[in-house]
Each structure stands twice: as C-alpha cells, then as structure tokens.
Symmetry: C2
Subunit: 339 residues, 2 copies
Amino acid sequence: MKHKGKATSFDIAHYAGVSQSTVSRALRNSPLVNEETRRKVHEVAAKLNYKVDKNASNLRTQQSSTLALLLFEDPTTDESQINPFFLSMLGSITRACAKEGYDLLVSFQSSSQDWRADYEDSHRADGIILLGYGDYLDYQSRLQQLLEQNTKFVCWGAKVDGRPDLTVSCDNYGGGQLAAQHLIEQKRTDCAFIGDASHHSPEFFARYQGFRDTFLAQGIQLNERKIANAISTQDSGYHATKSLIANNVHFNALFAASDLIAIGAIRALQEAGIMVPNDVRVVGFDNIPAASYVSPALTTVQQNTTLAGQMLVSNLLSLIRGEEVESTLLPPNLIVRNT
Amino acid sequence: MKHKGKATSFDIAHYAGVSQSTVSRALRNSPLVNEETRRKVHEVAAKLNYKVDKNASNLRTQQSSTLALLLFEDPTTDESQINPFFLSMLGSITRACAKEGYDLLVSFQSSSQDWRADYEDSHRADGIILLGYGDYLDYQSRLQQLLEQNTKFVCWGAKVDGRPDLTVSCDNYGGGQLAAQHLIEQKRTDCAFIGDASHHSPEFFARYQGFRDTFLAQGIQLNERKIANAISTQDSGYHATKSLIANNVHFNALFAASDLIAIGAIRALQEAGIMVPNDVRVVGFDNIPAASYVSPALTTVQQNTTLAGQMLVSNLLSLIRGEEVESTLLPPNLIVRNT
DNA sequence: CTGAAAGCGCTTACAG
DNA sequence: CTGAAAGCGCTTACAG
C-alpha cells in the first residue's frame, strides 16, 4: 500500500472495495452509509494515513472552516513588542476556535499598510476577528468598507453609538467607574488621567467617561489640566506623566487607560521621587501578566480575556450562520494590589 | 456590475472581453500576456473587488502558501497564561511569514491531546513550525512519525545529538556559559540551578551543561544538592526554591533555566528574607518582557526572538523547496540588570 | 444503502 | 500573445 504523493479518496475507495462517493460519505459519517462499510473505509483511511484534502472540500462546499484574526497595532508601537493584552486574547481566541473545530489564520499589520482583510474574499476564511487599538477614526472607513462588502466580521473594542458593526467589548465605562469608586473609597479624589480621552480611542474614552462621571456624581470635577494624552505603551505613559510633573501638576491618584501606560507612569513618578502608593495611588486597566510582577504590584481593572475570546468566536460563527447577533459587553473586575 | 455571490474569473473575463485563461494569466502577472490586456484585467478585477479563490488555486497548484504553527505547552501549565516567550516568538514568526507572502495557521495544544499535525496531510499548510517546551521524551515519537510521513517541519528547540529533525535554536549551552561567566566575575561561585537538568528538557539541560562546564573549567564543581527540578512556570520556580531553602541548602547565586522560573525563585527568596542581589544573585534565561518590570529587574540571557522567527520561517521554506538545510544555532546575549 | 456524474474555480500544457 | 480544454480532489443531487 505505498503511493507516490498523498493518497486520495479514490485510493481509499480502491482498497476498501467501494466507490469514491461512498468513501466521502463514510468519512463524513453520513447516516446514509452502512455501519460495516463505514468501519472498513475508516480503517483503510487510517492505514494509508489519508486526510481529506481541505482545498478540494472547501472549494466544493464553498466554506473554509477557518477564521482569520487581524491584529492591528498602533504604528508607533515598538515592532518587537506586541501588546501583552492582545497576546492573551490571541491565546483564548485560538482555544475557542479549536473548540468549535475551526482553524485560525493570524495576521499582524500596522494600520498604515494595506489591510489584509481579503481573507473572506479569497475564501481563506469564513469570517474575520479584528483586534487592536489604534486610532479609531483612521480605520473607521475600512470597517465601513468591510460592511459594504458584506464581510462577516466582529471587532474587539468599544461599542460606539451608531457604530454599525458587531462588537464584543469590555464594559469600559463600567471599568472606569470601578476605578473611580476604588479611589473614592481610598479618599483619593485629586486625580490625574493618562490616556487618549477622545473619539480617536473609544475604549480609552469610555474608561475616562466612567471615571469622570463617578466623580461628578460625588460633586467632584476632574481638572482638565490633569489629563495627559498617551497611547498604550510604557514609554508613552512615562512621557505623559513626566510632562505632567514638569508642568507642576499635582495629584494624589492616577488612573491610567492601560496597564502599560500605568507601568510607565509609575516609573516616571518614582524617578521624580513621588512614592506609589503613598503619595499617588495608581490604577491601571487590562490586568496583563506584568501587572502582578511590577513593584509595587499594580492595582488594575481586569478584562476577562478567556470569555472575550469565546464570545468573539461564537458571535462571529453566529453571524456566519446568518443568525441575529447582538454586540456583547463583558463585565470588568477590579483587582486590588499594592498601588 | 452587481453579482450574486462573489465574482469569479469568468465574470472578470466577461467584462474585460477576454478569455478566462487570460484573466488568470494577467492576474498572476504572467509575462505571456500583453501589457494593455493585463492592465484592463486588473482594472476590472479591482472594480468588481475580485479576489482569486485560494481553495481553487491551491487545489490546482497543489500548495497552500500557508505555514502552520503548532504551539504545544506543558500540560501542567495554567491554561490561561501562555508562556510569554512563545508569544513573542509568535509575533516574529507571523511577521516573517507575512514578509514571505505566507499565511500562518496557529494552533495551541497540550501535549496530551491528539496532535493537530495533519495540516500538511490535509493540504492546509505546506509545512509546520513546532514550538514548545514540554517533556522531550514524550513527543520524540511524534517527531519520528512526522519524519516518517515525510512532513516538512522545523522545530524550535535544542539540537540533540542524533536528533534527525531540522531545528532552529538558541545556543543554550553558550547561554549557560554566559550566565556562569557573569557570576564568576561577580565572585559568586556557590551556585544553585533551578530547572530540569535532564534529557526530558534538552534546552534546559544544555543551559545547565554550559553553566556547569564553565565552573568546572575554573575548578569549581556544582553541588548536586543545589539543583532543583522545575518546569518553566513561576509557581514551579517558586516551589523548587522554597524546597531548597527548606532543606537548608545555602548558595550565593542562582541560575534559573527560564525567566519565569527566576521570577518565582526571587519571590521565594524574598519571602525567606534572602536579599536579591545582595545575598543571592539571580540570572534568568529568555528575557521576556516581564524581566524588565520585576523588581529588582532581572539579569538574564536573551534569546533573539526576531531572528529566531525569521530563521524558523526561512529554513522551513527552504526545506519545502527541497533545498539542503542545516540546523541553525542562534547566539544568545547577556542582559545585565539588577539581580 | 450505493454508484456514476456533475461541478466548485482555478492553472497550465497544448494548439494556434 | 490568446483561447479551449483538461484536471486538481472533493461533495452531493440524482438515479437506482
């Protein structure tokens, strides 16, 4: 039973003494085929180490059993270091795909380049998961285009009013509230915020809003001067905090829009001789692995990445099946550590 | 120019006023086709948002332009946390694939499960990259099987004598030497080693050997009692170090087979009131992102993941092309920080 | 329950 | 330089 090249269903048919149609049915466990025949076909297939050719079956059935993950990063981010939060999402998405019997095609790209969003057009994937920060206004038009082309996709990110695409996101507003409540309990009400509080980063903006509104409800107004812009990197958080300090801005608490920003901010504070948490309490967002390693360990708002991956995949599959799907909001979780 | 479903090359042919064969040639930029014709075809294709059906073209050409990445983890590892070192490799592999025009299929799996190594058999991928720690003896037989099936694959990991598969690896032995030289310079010659110094983990074993041999060359013999077994997790490093301390084993330096182990070890030392680096100097291995966040920042042996990803991909592609390929050894790099 | 046949959308030798 | 045709390896209606 040796062959040149890979065995095909015709080879199996030959050795099992049945027709090729029957082999195909048996291998797909069609109820139409006799149990004895089915067994025999499976046996021969195993012996010849036969695997159905996915290109052929996908071509025939017009689907791919594959999902694509598009990870787009802020182009200013250091190439070599991927945001650990996304990496953790990637792990949970892969697992969720495997569980559903789908393969996952992964692609990184900086938002400047051409989008490799043609996975569906080229029949490589049945749908796309979009994951990434970056300027929302920059890629909004791309999303619009995907919608027009009727591409099946789901985004990780903020649900913006009027945003027509399907999203799965953390309740960023609620997460901001959690951070504010925590600081209010600690009697730290003179707060700085580091992150992009604008429509460019809807996730960050929602975190900021939840934070601000919670203070407002207590009659406390956040000072505009204490807001510094930053993208989600350690360096950006570091420099934003530095500039606050340089401008003689004082505060006794700091809410960072992400853990990476928080870690950079803490570094800037420590360098300036400001003690964390004694002088300034810090709350981050994400709960990346490093949050528990840094010293002092970072208090942060956790996003449930395992659940997020599962929802992303299951929502996308529903969409592909043509079912009605709602955008999903996942509850965040305050992790109190030492900052 | 509206269609039901996706446009095919026949649609393009129709609108461009040429035959379908010509469309195919024009789109693949065959030199056989007239420049004017080529332009026209591309124009129509763009207008109809046409993309070549990969399933069809792959089926026809009998290749896939796809590589598969199999990440296998130690089954004892916490499900939710993937080893950050591999995550960083994943990033560089993805980038290297993109550069070569290949897609990347990613799959995680615990070594207990069935291997999803049938990507090539099912024509989903032209080759496989294997990445992971775990017990080498456990999966050796699987590698053997892949070789017998003539699967194209390349492994990240130690080049073991007599190991017949193609590998790309860090010079783990050299890395161990680097760690030893550093500690010798610091006059810390009473060393503990935490990690699996056996054939079960060839990478760890090589690190240990390089470390041990460098001390031996100075006439210093490592004490067997100061070696504790650990897999590459923080917890494992923590417990291994704890047990050393509990057994009253003394040492003034510690070489951990990985950063995760080192981070756990430092925690155990600190809890026991042992100061790092004053009482015990610690050197890790990998240089994961967290290594620079921990306090004190971890001195460690860096593996060049960017280069590693590139070599993995380019070696695999050479192998697929049927070229002669040698296993590759990448030079490590000592990063001196505060431990 | 089984088999012969059509066809998924391409690529490429073959013939001009 | 171009077109008509074969064929990649499957799945599945259709006919028994």
